[in-house]
Structure formats: C-alpha cells, structure tokens
C-alpha cells in the first residue's frame, strides 16, 4: 500500500476536522531509518476477536524511539463497548462490568487518540486486531475510514523464528512461540505480572528495541518492515 498517497487522499476525503488534521500532518516517510523515527506502541483490548461482533474495552499507548521509551507520556483509556462484555474476556483482561460502567464511548476519546498518534509510527504486537477494530469502530461511529501503517513485532518475530511450512523438514517441527510474553523471553526481557493495554504497549515497545538491537539494522528504512 502506498501510505503517502492514502494519507493525502484521506486528508481531502475525511469530513471530521480532527481526522482531516491527522491525515494532513502526514505519515512517516517510508525511507526514514528506524533510528530516526518517532514511534508509539499501541495495544487495545477487546471483548473478542471478531471486529464485526465484538468491541474495544481499553486502549493503551506509549510513545518511544529506539533511544528511549517515554513512560511519562503513556496513556490509557477504558471505553465502554456497545456489545455486552462476554464472561470469558473478563478472565483474560481482568476488566469487569463495573469498571466499564462509567467508561466513555470510543467516540469521546477518539480525538485524543488521534492526537497521540499523529505524526508517529504505530507499533503493535499482532497488528491485525488493532487495525481491524479501530477501522471498524471509526467507520461505525463516524462513517470515516481510518488506516495507518504499523510495525508488527509479532510479524518480525515470525520472520525470524518461523520457517515456511511448505518445507517438508518443517512439517512436524514445533513452531517457536511468537506470543508477546514468549518473544520477550528470548531477549531476557522481564515478565510483567499484570496485563492491560498499557503494560502490553510498554512490553511491545521494549520488544521492538530488543529486536532491533539483535536482528534488524537501526538504519533499515521503515518501509522495509511496516505493514
């Protein structure tokens, strides 16, 4: 996808002022080296895996670069999904009905979220969830299209540790786990006791720094890795 063109087009097509502004401020240059890019790690939690059926319950983000993770600028929102909270997602995220009772609707935090992401490259672990849920929710609330390029630490890990399945030698071999916690372990990153969108965003930022330190070149262009 040509993100530059997409952002330009959208800056004309979007009707919501804040979103227009977001697109107008442009997207990270595809040829910028990783070491010079302002990034933001993003994690959302949802009531399930299907963006058509389920909703977002929380959003966490941490701005960072390869030099520093800016914990002091981290943000976290609880949002009330329009679809009811399923019991099994409570056990995963430790978010309960009462936590969400007073939470705002996504539409109330959207502008703040846009501002936090504006001009920065988003990093996520398994980006499809973030992309699909945010796109679906924004279309549903505002009838707008919202997409942006992302670095996916899970994809990076998969490229490093997973051999293509078409090789017969790989058919019966156990695949290396690329789940966030397991991937972190490979880089001696500490285990966090709790899980929520913000801690997972922090965990993702740390993981990307480790992946770059070990396997990528900090001079690699962003466009080589984003999706």
């Amino acid at each position: 996808m040509d993100w530059m063109t997409y952002f330009q087009t959208q800056s004309h097509q979007a009707s919501r002022q804040t979103l227009k502004q977001y697109y107008r401020s442009g997207c990270t240059f595809a040829n910028a080296p990783l070491s010079a890019v302002e990034m933001v790690a993003l994690d959302i939690e949802t009531t399930g895996l299907n963006s058509q059926e389920h909703g977002i319950t929380s959003i966490g983000l941490v701005p960072f670069s390869l030099q520093r993770i800016q914990l002091n600028e981290a943000k976290h929102w609880l949002v009330k999904p329009r679809k009811p909270l399923a019991e099994d997602s409570i056990t995963i995220h430790q978010i309960t009905h009462s936590d969400l009772a007073d939470a705002p609707d996504f539409s109330e935090v959207f502008d703040e979220l846009l501002q936090a992401l504006q001009g920065k490259l988003v990093v996520a672990h398994f980006h499809k969830i973030e992309r699909q849920f945010l796109r679906h929710t924004v279309r549903n609330r505002f009838d707008e299209d919202w997409l942006f390029p992302m670095l996916d630490t899970m994809q990076i890990e998969a490229n490093l540790h997973r051999q293509p399945r078409w090789k017969p030698s790989q058919w019966f071999r156990r695949q290396a786990s690329i789940r966030l916690a397991d991937a972190r372990q490979r880089y001696q990153l500490p285990a966090y006791r709790n899980h929520n969108a913000m801690l997972d965003a922090l965990a993702t930022a740390e993981l990307l720094q480790a992946q770059v330190a070990y396997h990528l070149d900090s001079n690699d262009s962003v466009g080589q890795h984003w999706c």
Binding site: G60, V62, F64, Q67, R68, I69, Q70, L71, N72, A74, H76, Y187, Q188, L189, P190, Y192, R193, N194, N196, M198, L199, L202, A205, E206, Q209, A210, A213, Y214
Partner: protein
Amino acid sequence: MLMTPEQLEIAQYIGQFEPFDAISDDAIELIAQHLQVRYFKAGSAIINFEEPATDLMFIRSGAVELFRRNGELYNRLTEGDIFGQFSLLRQQCVRFPARALEDCLIYYIPKTVFEQLLEEEAFADFVEAEGPRLKTTVEQQRKDNDLLITRVRKLVRRRPLIVDEDTTIQQASQQLIEHGASSMLVRRQASKGYEEDNQTWQICGLITEHDFVSRVIAQGESALAPVANIMSREMIGIASDESVQEAMLIMLKHNIHHLPVFRKRRPLGIIRLADIVRYETQSSLYLAASIANQQSIAELAKLSHDVAQSCVRMVQDGANSKMVGQALSGIGRAFMQRIIELTEADLGKPPVPYCYMVLGSMARDEQTLLTDQDNALILHDDYQPEHEAYFVELSDKVSTALDRCGYTLCSGDIMASNPQWRKTLSQWQATFADWIANPNPEALLHCSIFFDIDGVYGDINMAEELREFVAERAQGQQRFLAALARNALNRTPPLGLFRTFVLEKDGKENNSINVKRRGTAPLVDVIRVHALAAGSTAQNSFDRLDDIAKTSLIPKDAIERLRYAFEFLSMMRIRHQVIDIDNERQPDNNVEPELVNSSDRHTLKDAFGVLSSAQKYLEFRYPYKVR
C-alpha cells in the same frame, strides 16, 4: 495524579530495592511517572565516558559493568541496582562508563526527579559517596546496641502471675503451683495505675514461695485468709529500661531475691537473683575469672567450650569489634597465664626470669574465635645454655596445653617451643635491630606479627622494654618502613559482591570471601606501617590510629575512614563466625555473599574501597626502591 497500571507495576518493582524501599510513596510515584526505558543488548555501551550525566539509571533486568577511566573494572551490578549517581551529585560528566554485561532493561530517572529525591533522607544517605555511608552504618550499629547497658527487660522471661488482693491464700498457692512460678504479684483497684479488663489497677504487693512458708505455716495463718495478709507491702520494683547492673544493686541493697519489672505502672514480669547470676556467668569477665580457678589442663580444656558462647553473647548484646577483640584476647591471656602457672608448678621454679609474650592478634587485642597460637619467649640476659632443658619442656607443655584448649598450634611454627623464638632480651633487641637496619621484604614477610607484641606472663617489663626499643628504632627508618609497606600490599580486597559471588578486580567471580585475608589483615598491615612511622608503642589498631592521628602522616578524614572500614569489616567477620556457631558449623573467616544483605553489600564495597585507597597511599608514602 493517580498512577496508571504500568506505573503501579513499576513502582511496586522499584520499591522492593534499596534505597527506594525506604522513601515515601509520593517519591516512588514521582519516579514511576517520569520514568524512561531502554533495552540494551549484551555487550553494548549504556553510557560513555564524559557524556553529560542526565539520569540516574536503575537496572530492571540483566547485569551491567562499570569501568574506571583507564578501563579497569569498577563494579558489576544487577537487577535492582542503580548507577550514575556520582556524576549527578557532582554535576559532572559521566565518570564510570557502563556496558551491558547481559541483555538489560534500564530505567532512566531524570536528573530533575533525582534532585527532588535527594530531599528524602534515606535516599540522600544512600547515594552519598563512600565515606558517609560507612560512617553511618558503623555509628548506627553502635547506637542500636550498647553493651554497657543491658536493660533488665532482656531478663524478663514471662508475664507475671497476678492475683486480686481478696484471693485466698489457698487459691493463690494453687495458682503458683499450676503455673510453676515462684512468686506472684497482688493487685487492687485504684484511681491511678495501669489499665486491664477495663479497670485501673495498682500493684500492691508481692508474694514468694518463701512467704507461704514463713508467713502461713510458721505463723499459723488460715489458708482461707486473703493474700493481702501475707504479702510484702513494701514494694520495690525497677523500671524496664534500667540496667541489669542496677537491678543487681537493688537486690543486694534490700536483700531480696525477686524484683518486679515495670513499664510505666504496668508490671512486665519478675526477675530473680538467679536470673542475674545465670546471665552474668555467660559473660566474658566471669569466664576469665573462672579460668584462673581451674586446677588442671583437663579442666581448662573443658572450659574452652564456653569461649564461643561468650562471644555469641557479646555480639548479641551489641558489642563492637574492639570489645569482642579485647574480651577474647583477655580470655586467651587468662588461659595462657593459668596454663603457664600450672606448668611452672609442675616443673619447679625457672632457672632465670623470663617473659612469655604473645604476638599478632592477641597482642593487638583483636582476637576472634578462629585463632592459632603465636607466642615467643624473652629470657633474662643471665640465661646460660644449661638452662635450655627447662624452657624446652616449659614451652612444649604450654603449646600442647594451649592446643588442647582450642588455640591450635601455629602452622608457621611461631611458638616459644621453636628454639628460634626463644632469645634473651639482648638477642631479641639485636634481631629487631637487624630487621630494621637491613630490611628486605621477603625476610620481613613472615615476621610482621613480631611487630605486635604483648607480655602475658612472667617478667612483663622485658616485653615492655622490647616494645619501646622497636618503636624507637623503627621510626624514621624509610627503607624498613618501605619494605613493610610493600608487604602490606600483598593482599588486596575484591571489588565487592555481585549476586551470589565475590567480584574480583579482574572480573572473576568467587563463591566466598575470606574477610580476614582480604580485609582486616591487610588493614592491620597498613595501620601498623603508619604506627611504626609515628613511633607509636600502641598495639591495638584503633589505638594505633589514635597515635597516627597525632601526626601528619595521613589526612584526618582518611584516618576516620580507616577506623570505620576496620570496624565494619571486623564486625562482619565476627558476626559471620557467630552465624557459623549458631548453625553448628566450625567458625571460619569466610563470608558467603548470599548471607550478606543488600545494605551491607554497599557498605562492604565502600570498606574495600577504603582499604584499596589506603594501600595506594601507602605505596606513595613509603616508596620502595630496590638497591
């Protein structure tokens, strides 16, 4: 501002470690809210020399090595440790560059936050450079315990038995039997007193077993009469924070055997004269006194088992290293004196006067539990070769007896039983004069303990004379002092502790550290050189430091640092010997890093640092040139 979940997780993590465990919640929150993070792959540089210092760094995971400017390893740190504080405090550029030894996650605490944290006393004390922390630790240990004052409350074993004043004599005696007690207190309601069962009570009397005999049976008092009839109404008590000494004096003065202990007006318990006697018999003074009363070597050998217990007791009572060293040396001298007395009684009068002297730690009053015997004989100048047989037998018997009493034979054969170490006073003076006038480090290596001497038995004046002779001769002898100084550099301290290892200067890791060989002994060596240069006749290292302080050989603050380092290392050695005894192991001089808590680790590193710089200074102050 409320902490976010990830700030909370980080705050909880940081809060487990020194000095963050002692600072306020507000300060921890401040840190969590301003933190930055970065990952470092093993082998990569974290900060470089002379980079501007902008943050305090906290190791969240992994391990870090710090280096000196010349590339020498300065320290190795791990999870929960901080670095970068020195440069921040001095507003300087980075002094110790750092490298990731393992994959690391580093938390950065910005300078502005660091400066706010300095307002917290616990934090400021911790990050202050070497000297102050060592001083604080040693002084805190002293403040926490005061040997001279053992409070009576320590002797209180259980709550007192208390009955109301209208209890019958029979009921009271039944309770006494039921509780296996030998005395009880009597209470009555009063307007002033202590609160219990929602009422105010006053202790109005004391009854002992003896009262039942002397006042009930002997005087025919009815068993159904109230206890008030037979109790002692003259209430003599003692406040719980008074000394054991004071309690003993009160009991002797009033001729009583039971003494109630009170805090404010509330009774805490009753101590008996027997409790005090038992307590005192564990004391080193008592032990030394009873050594003098033993009638045979076998009896003495039996008594030697009490030495360890009396040391444990002193440490528990909070004695400092000088007190423990003096007591154990005193006990050692008492053993020696009694052994020589008994042996002399066996062999008959000596043909010429002599002086048994001890060398090394006992002479310095710095003995610990693990010790061998180092002794020698000074014979009167009237000594003739035909007298030799007597002194051969005497010294053999003494050394063997000392060995039986726990003072093992000297592996270096520095004992009076070795003919080389039996000399007349003139011969000794000639020997010392030769050591001093024609020094060479190799020859001096094995006789440095001869410069710590103390007469123990016989004509003590001869030992005094020898001591003064040495002090006078050694002063100003640059070549001799330089040779001695060179030997004092042979044993160097490690850098500190890292996880469960001892970290050496070359980065190697060992499992345990011999605190004597790597700490106290080289300090003693360093102090001895300065003391001889100062013309001091003192033998104890603390006393020697006092004498050195009167000269301008070393800066005053360096003397203070040496004092604190020596005290800290000595106590660490003694405390670990006590741990060994508690665990029924043979005490040794080794300290295992896993038994050292985090605050002692930092102080230990400081103490090693003091020794290391003292050794460097020694090399500079007494330079050795090979002729």
